[in-house]
Symmetry: C2
Subunit: 427 residues, 2 copies
């Protein structure tokens, strides 16, 4: 627990801001070897790696791919409540992202120059879906639906199926989102296959989705060959709460982040030290009851922070320094905080907006910048699957008006062919 | 010269598409050593590297920084025509980018959930400006103005000044764009200083701007610590021209790209082989006259391509495969081409839109995706200096309506603390 009145507060707070909680596993050379091998030997390399890492043999088509029929069957096989919940989530995510579609522009300005820009979807997108513990159907929806809304024609999922085991919830989500292909491969080899293409798998233009250190490193190395989303680190939440909250609610919110990962971080800022103590007590009680209590406990013990401020408005400056992935505003009037917080992935305003609502069904994307990256990065959106082409057109009058300035600048920069391409038209 | 009717056209065209023209200089380990040293030893390391690489000694403040007064003096010292040309460029770039500023959203949907997103500028941006031959004032404007329009409060330029020499045109552009700080450092060490900060130089949130292989690799390695723009390769132009053009004009356009760099690429697609021959002749004539003719000649000989199609509409599909940085449409009616070309950095429509107009004064950004990256990337824009924070707020009714679905999904994903944070509020 830190108090802003502590003499060493600045130093300790700075240490929290600077702590990235990211293990620098050096997998770069392993990953570049895997990429080179997949590029050179294609499907053969994929089969070898999948045998070795996932204990799954890729021989027949059914070993390689999960069919749309299997996805539909998985969806139909869900119990009704879960199927409805997944459908509600998909509908709301779609509705929110539909409003993100950017407008084209096309205007003629005062000089008579026609200027504009057109947004178009990428042709094909690849989504990585982790296997095992972190195989979340909600992540599949959050990655696939923005791509579909953008107008991506070909939507490809890669996911490892260790010992051949598939996750029915993930398949159900793939059905809902309308994924076109699902390949049973994972790791850096799957990213390499999506980026470079193989005999079976055609290459894509953009790759998104979470993964382990190998997957993240492969995306980083292939950035430029394909587009990628932001490399993500451990998750984090900042809860700004006055003393009028039920400590049980706030403890639950902190733990909902902590249960993800021992490296996750939950931070509480409050103006009541008594309230902070109550929250701490409730964290202990809840941890003992949770099936994920061990992970949550470690995250809270290693990375949990409580900061007591004199006035809750001080939290705004601290929140901007922390640039957290998730920020909850558990106060009656969240508006001044919402206005003041410039750096955050997503804000959950008011006492009835626990982060978990946003993780699943609210509509905004849950793929958000971590590790203070909200200073410069945004959550995943339709724009990650689109790109903009600008255009200009001139007539005689407008060309005569702005052409000479361009020629003058070209000469000044020592680029005579640039100048000539204008001057030859001015004659 | 390729003809779509050639039997081996597909193979040869595919080879052109796949040729990235990018030298894989392996500077990764040099660069990571430089970054580590700057991170550890700050200004001292910067001074050592600057002495070694730029033959410039960093001792007094005046060695480290170029003052705003020097920039103003450089601007005032330009001849009138050049000053006016630079001002026209700045005004038009500003006007175009002002229209890119994204709108915030804030709505209450059918379920009673308040949903929205707010765009905010990053706090500080760093712009790399190369020294020597490629020190282009137009590039400074194209990077700095979008940052300023975005609302970035602190705009920092780093630029090497070999043997202490500065480029007055670059200083004049910095004055026009309103740059806050200019540091006389370059290379990977300058990128490291911007990303991590040193005693003298406070760190920034986003770094953009062109540079050599060391600069590009440093940006790549520091991607995630800061935001970066797309790593750029050699420039390229695709000119789609019917046989009715003046071959002199089209030759000039091709050479305006070729003169940049021996690795630059100029491609002509036309439906008239006779016209292609005439263009080839004019390329020879113009090359002989240009002060940059040697570079342009090498680029044209090594990478220049002419493709003859039967019908000019075939150029649309080829253009989408090439996904070129610049596409010129030298035809009477460019509209069908503009509609059909999905993948291009920027399109120059009609016979009076040579690329050079767009490079300097038209208004759209000239920092564009190269090496087929227009498949997934856009030109530099105001959005590169902003980020979006989404937010939600719920009342009792809307929480009761969508909360249970979130809890059901949380349970299904094995995240009980997520579920509890909702259930505890539903009681």
């Amino acid at each position: 627990m830190l108090r802003t009145t502590d003499p060493d507060f600045d130093v300790r707070f700075r240490r929290i801001v600077d702590d990235r909680r990211e293990s620098d596993t050096d997998v770069a050379s392993d990953v570049s070897a895997i990429i080179a091998r997949v590029k050179a030997r294609g499907d053969e390399a994929l089969a070898e790696y999948t045998q070795r890492f996932d204990d799954h043999q890729l021989t027949d088509d059914a070993d390689w791919r999960i069919s749309p029929e299997d996805c539909r069957a998985a969806f139909d096989g869900l119990d009704t409540a879960l199927r409805d919940a997944l459908s509600l989530a998909a509908d709301r995510i779609r509705a929110f992202h539909l409003k993100q579609r950017p407008a084209d522009s096309d205007e003629i300005d005062d000089a008579g120059v026609r200027l504009g820009a057109r947004w178009r979807a990428v042709d094909a997108a690849g989504l990585y879906v982790p296997g095992g513990r972190a195989a979340y159907p909600s992540s599949l929806l959050m990655n696939a639906i923005p791509a579909r809304v953008a107008g991506v024609e070909r939507l490809v999922v890669v996911t490892p199926t260790p010992k051949g085991k598939v996750n029915p919830l993930v398949l159900a989500a793939a059905h809902l989102a309308g994924v076109d292909e699902i390949w049973r491969i994972g790791g850096a080899q799957a990213i390499a296959a999506l980026a470079h293409g193989t005999g079976r798998i055609r290459k894509v233009d953009v790759i998104t989705g979470p993964g382990n250190a190998w997957v993240a490193e492969a995306k980083r190395q292939l950035f430029g060959v394909v587009g990628i989303d932001m490399v993500a680190g451990p998750s984090e939440i900042l809860v700004i709460a006055d003393g009028m909250n039920d400590p049980d609610w706030i403890a639950a919110d902190l733990l909902s982040q902590a249960e993800h990962d021992p490296d996750a971080q939950a931070i509480l800022i409050t103006d009541s030290e008594a309230f902070a103590d109550q929250v701490e007590d409730r964290v202990d009680v809840q941890c003992a009851m949770l099936s994920t209590g061990k992970v949550a406990r470690r995250s809270w013990d290693d990375h949990g922070v409580m900061i007591v401020v004199e006035k809750l408005e001080e939290a705004i400056g601290l929140a901007n320094a922390l640039a957290a992935e998730h920020v909850e505003l558990a106060v009656d009037d969240p508006e001044p905080f919402l206005d003041g917080i410039r750096h955050a992935g997503s804000v959950f305003a008011g006492r009835l907006a626990p982060e978990a609502v946003g993780d699943y069904v609210a509509g905004p994307n849950h793929v958000l910048p971590t590790g203070r990256r909200a200073r410069f990065a945004s959550g995943l959106s339709v724009l990650d699957f689109m790109k903009r082409t600008s255009f200009i057109a001139l007539d005689d009058a407008s060309f005569a008006r702005i052409g000479p300035a361009a020629a003058a600048l070209a000469h000044a920069e020592g680029l005579p062919a640039h100048a000539h391409s204008i001057e030859v038209r001015l004659k």
